[in-house]
Symmetry: C2
DNA sequence: CAGAAATGCGAGCGATCTCTCGTGTTTGCC
DNA sequence: GGCAAACACGAGAGATCGCTCGCATTTCTG
C-alpha cells in the first residue's frame, strides 16, 4: 500500500520533507485496489510505457486527478501492483513450492506442480507477465522489478537445491536462473497458442525443464518405469 | 532498402497513390546506412519506443528533416534495420547453420557452433536483440518482426530435423520454437554477466540445449567418452 | 452540527515526440 | 552554364502524455 498513515504521533512541525501522513478512508482503499485492477488491465494489454495514466483512470472510471490522489506518479502504480502480485504469488506458491525431499517427491512431480501453478497464476494475472517480461520498463522500476525477479530465482534455488546436493552455490544460482529463463520462454509460447496446441507446449516446457535438471540429480539412465 | 528507383519506365501520369520513384544519389545511400547505424545504436541502448527520431538524427549528425527524406516514419527505420540485420545474419549463418548429417556432425558440435555464432552476431549487432526481444514494439512492426522470427525458427527446424527423423512436423516446429526461446533466455543471462561468469552461462546454455535435444535423437545413454 | 480532512473532478500546463514545410544548397545531366 | 531533382536544414505544427491546481463534494471527528 502506498504511504500508510504511520500514526505520526509527536510530529509537531517536522517538515518531514516528503510524506505527510495521509489518513486513508475505506473509500480510498477501495479506489486504490480499483485503480490497480485497471492498471493491471491496461498494462497487460499495452505494456507499461504505452499505458497512459489517463487511460488507467478512464478504465477505473475516475478522473486523472483522482488517480494522483493515491499515487505520486506512474511508476508508483507499477511498483505497487508488482508488489501486490508478488505477495499473492508467494502465497499461491507456498502450498506447492516449498523445498521437498527428493526421496519423497520426484523431480518430475516438482516440475509439473510448479509449472502448473505458475501457468495458472499467469492466467489469473496477465499483468504479472507484462511487468516481469518488461524490457520497456524505465530505470527506477527495474530495482523493484529486480527484487521480484530475485525472489523468484531464490525460490527456484531452494526447489532445485535438494536435487543437486553436491553443487557449489554459484552453479545452483545459474541453474535456477536458467530455469526461470526457460520457463519464461515456454510461457511465451504457451500464451501464444490455444487448445490442444497450448497443452502440447505446456508438456514441452515440462519436458525441457525435466531434461535440463535430471542429469544434475545424479540419476543416470534408468528412470523410465 | 526503402523504395528503390524501380526504373519507373512508362509511368506517364500514374498517380501511384503512395510512392513517387525517388532517385537516390550516392550521397543518399550513404546517409541511409549512416542513419541505420545511428538507429541501431539508439535502439540498442534505449529500445524502440523510447528511441526518438530526433535522437537518431542527432546521433547520425543530421537534422530531423533529413531523416524523413529517407524514411517515411519511425517504423520504417526499424523495419529496414531489421531487414538488413536479418540479411546479414543469414549469410553469417549459412557457413555454419546448414543442415548436417548426424553421422558426420554430432548434435553437440551443431549446438556449440550455432550458439557461438549467434552470440558473436549479437555482440556485433546489439540492436538485433533489442528488435527481436521487443515486446514494446507497436503493431505494424510485429509483422515484419514475426517474419524475422519465423525465418529464425525455420532455420532451427532444418538444423534439428536431421536428428529427429521420426518426428511429425508440428512436433519439430514446437521443438525449434522452444530452442529459440531457450536461446533467447540464455542470451539474456549471458549479456547480463561478464568475464568468467559469462563463459559459465554460455556453457550452461549449450548444456541446456544439448540436454533438451539429445533425448530426441534416440541416442540413449552411452554418450560420454 | 461545524470544521477539517479526505476524496473527486477536469481543464490545462509544460514537456516531449513524430512528422511537415518552406527554404537554401549540392549534385547529375544536357 | 543552366535546369531539375535530390539533399539538407531547423523551426514548429499537431498530438499526446504525465502531472498539477483550484474548487466542489463526501466523510470523519469532536
Amino acid at each position: 500500500m502506498p504511504e500508510k498513515p504511520e500514526k505520526a504521533g509527536t510530529e509537531t512541525t517536522t517538515a518531514a520533507a516528503d510524506e505527510r501522513p495521509r489518513r486513508r478512508q475505506a473509500r480510498g482503499e477501495r479506489r486504490i485496489t480499483q485503480l490497480l485492477e485497471a492498471a493491471a488491465a491496461v498494462f497487460s494489454t499495452t505494456g507499461y510505457t504505452a499505458a497512459s495514466t489517463n487511460a488507467i483512470a478512464r478504465e477505473a472510471g475516475v478522473s486523472p486527478g483522482t488517480l494522483y490522489q493515491f499515487f505520486p506518479n506512474k511508476e508508483a502504480i507499477a511498483i505497487e501492483l508488482g508488489s501486490r502480485l508478488m505477495h499473492e504469488m508467494r502465497q499461491s506458491y507456498d502450498e506447492v513450492l516449498t523445498p521437498t525431499d527428493p526421496a519423497v517427491t520426484s523431480l518430475e512431480e516438482v516440475i509439473t506442480g510448479a509449472v502448473d501453478r505458475f501457468i495458472e497464476f499467469n492466467g489469473r494475472h496477465p499483468a504479472f507477465f507484462a511487468l516481469m517480461h518488461g524490457p520497456d520498463i524505465p530505470g527506477r522500476i527495474a530495482e523493484e522489478h529486480d527484487a521480484l525477479h530475485t525472489t523468484l530465482v531464490a525460490r527456484v534455488e531452494t526447489l532445485v537445491a535438494p536435487f543437486v546436493p553436491d553443487a557449489p552455490a554459484p552453479a545452483v544460482t545459474r541453474t535456477a536462473r536458467m530455469c526461470v529463463g526457460i520457463y519464461k520462454a515456454g510461457l511465451e509460447l504457451i500464451l501464444a497458442h490455444e487448445g490442444a496446441e497450448r497443452e502440447a507446449y505446456i508438456q514441452e516446457l515440462k519436458e525441457a525443464l525435466l531434461r535440463y535438471l535430471r542429469p544434475l540429480a545424479g540419476a543416470s539412465c534408468a528412470d523410465t518405469p
